[in-house]
Amino acid sequence: MGPMIHRNFNKLGWLLIVLAASVLQPFGSRLLAQERLKLATTTSTDNSGLLKHLHPAFEKAAGVKIHTIAVGTGKALALGRNGDVDVVLVHARAAEDRFVADGDGINRRDVMANDFIIVGPSSDPAGIRDKKDGVEAVKRIAGKKARWFSRGDDSGTHKKEMELWNAASMKPSGQWYAALGQGMGKTLLAADEKLGYTLTDRGTYIAMSEGKKISLEVLVEGDERLFNPYGVIAVNPKKHAHVKYDVAMKYIEFLTSEPGQNLIASYRMNGKVLFFPVRTYAQRGK
């Protein structure tokens, strides 16, 4: 019995050692690895693929690894407020200004912009095609009670959508208006499925339609109201002493100077331009 027990213990012992080693590896590697900069941004920004195109140059130059946490705009700013990340990159100006005013972030800089578009079924029941006026479009959609899908999640896109409804002096509600609380991809899929309208950032739309996942069409674009500027903000070290403020500032510097701006300008999604670096429109006084 003794030797029998020992045989079992040996097998078990080795298994446990292998397990423990494999499990402890990430903790060990964290101790030895390079510094990390935690960036909170929106899912649409992450999904556009821009960051994959942009970050390697910075990581190499600064010797830092960027850990990107992609969540909704509200959550991204909340993470910054709590000090759980070092820098945020979002596209919701009013919220960004509040973030800075509250002392949660400092050194806000414009980075780039893309635009929103209203998409819908090719049959266009509300007749908004080529209207070029976002407020007019949503008025028509509400009037016809055509199906509309909203992010409903306090994201940048959702906030932009609410701006349109506010400008139209409307509070949308009813069977035709569905607030999903989901990301842009899922919202587009739902709108596609149910042949409804929605407001989307151009990047996610391109990705989904090029990938043949949706067959919605671009119906309204070019309205200045649909302009979608991005801001990068460092989390305030006065509120959270532990944040990597210096690295965050290096990152902000990178984004707003030539190397970063060039990379942003050169990024293509399925051959199409997606983002406009701020230097191209800064003169417009936006």
Binding site: M1, G2, P3, M4
Partner: protein, 223 residues
């Protein structure tokens, strides 16, 4: 030489009194029988003697020392081992089961296996060593359980109904094994309701009925 010494001993369960033997001196040399019909309290008595069932009243002494129950009774349980009716075998091979007896007693290393093999041989079960304990017949199970108890090296073995519900051929075999064992110096108490056990090889016989002692006869004629 008194082995067990019971004073004012009683065991009650809920409302019923399972055992009430009062004062009793129980010498154990060779084979002692505890007889009586079902429900007479034989099993309860054996469990008390084994140090497994604490009495609700009274004390138990073994070789003059008071027997503790629970954790403190470890030393006593190593001197006295109980083999229950329809004994329980572990989910291991036969050899491992028997070796457990030696292991529990505190033997180590090579000695454990040596004792186990020896005990199995003595019970005529050497050929069963590599079998799974789950696949044995009734008679084989009892012999393996007996071997396991022998492997502990205990001074006294308590066997509860060792041949109950066993066919006559295996019964005979078991009886022979047990009486031979008793002859080698291990004290053995067998509880049984079967008349076949009565005979010259039993040094003493305790008769129970409804939890009470109704007769106690010893080989030397004393009562």
């Amino acid at each position: 030489m008194s082995a067990f010494s019971l004073k004012d001993l009683q065991v009650r369960f809920e409302q019923a009194t399972a055992l009430d033997v009062g004062d009793l001196e129980l010498p154990v040399q060779g084979l002692t029988l505890v007889t009586g019909p079902n429900g007479a309290g034989k099993t309860t008595l054996l469990r008390v003697l084994a140090g497994v069932q604490p009495p609700t009243r009274g004390t138990l002494r073994y070789r003059g020392q008071v027997v503790s129950f629970g954790r403190a009774g470890l030393a006593h349980r190593r001197r006295v081992t109980l083999v229950a009716q329809d004994p329980f075998l572990f989910k291991k091979k036969v050899l491992a089961n028997v070796a457990f007896g030696a292991l529990a007693r505190g033997f180590k290393g090579e000695e454990v296996l040596a004792r186990a093999r020896k005990a199995l041989e003595a019970m005529g079960c050497g050929h069963l060593a590599g079998r799974d304990a789950g696949g044995l017949s009734g008679g084989e199970r009892r012999r393996v359980a007996l071997a396991r108890a022998v492997a502990t090296g205990a001074e006294i073995l308590l066997l509860d109904e060792p041949t109950a519900e066993v066919d006559s051929e295996n019964s005979e075999r078991l009886r022979l094994l047990i009486t031979t064992l008793a002859g080698t110096g291990t004290g053995i108490i067998v509880s049984t309701h079967q008349p076949e056990w009565a005979g010259p090889h039993a040094r003493s016989q305790l008769k129970l009925s409804a939890g009470r002692v109704i007769a106690f006869s010893r080989e030397d004629g004393s009562a």
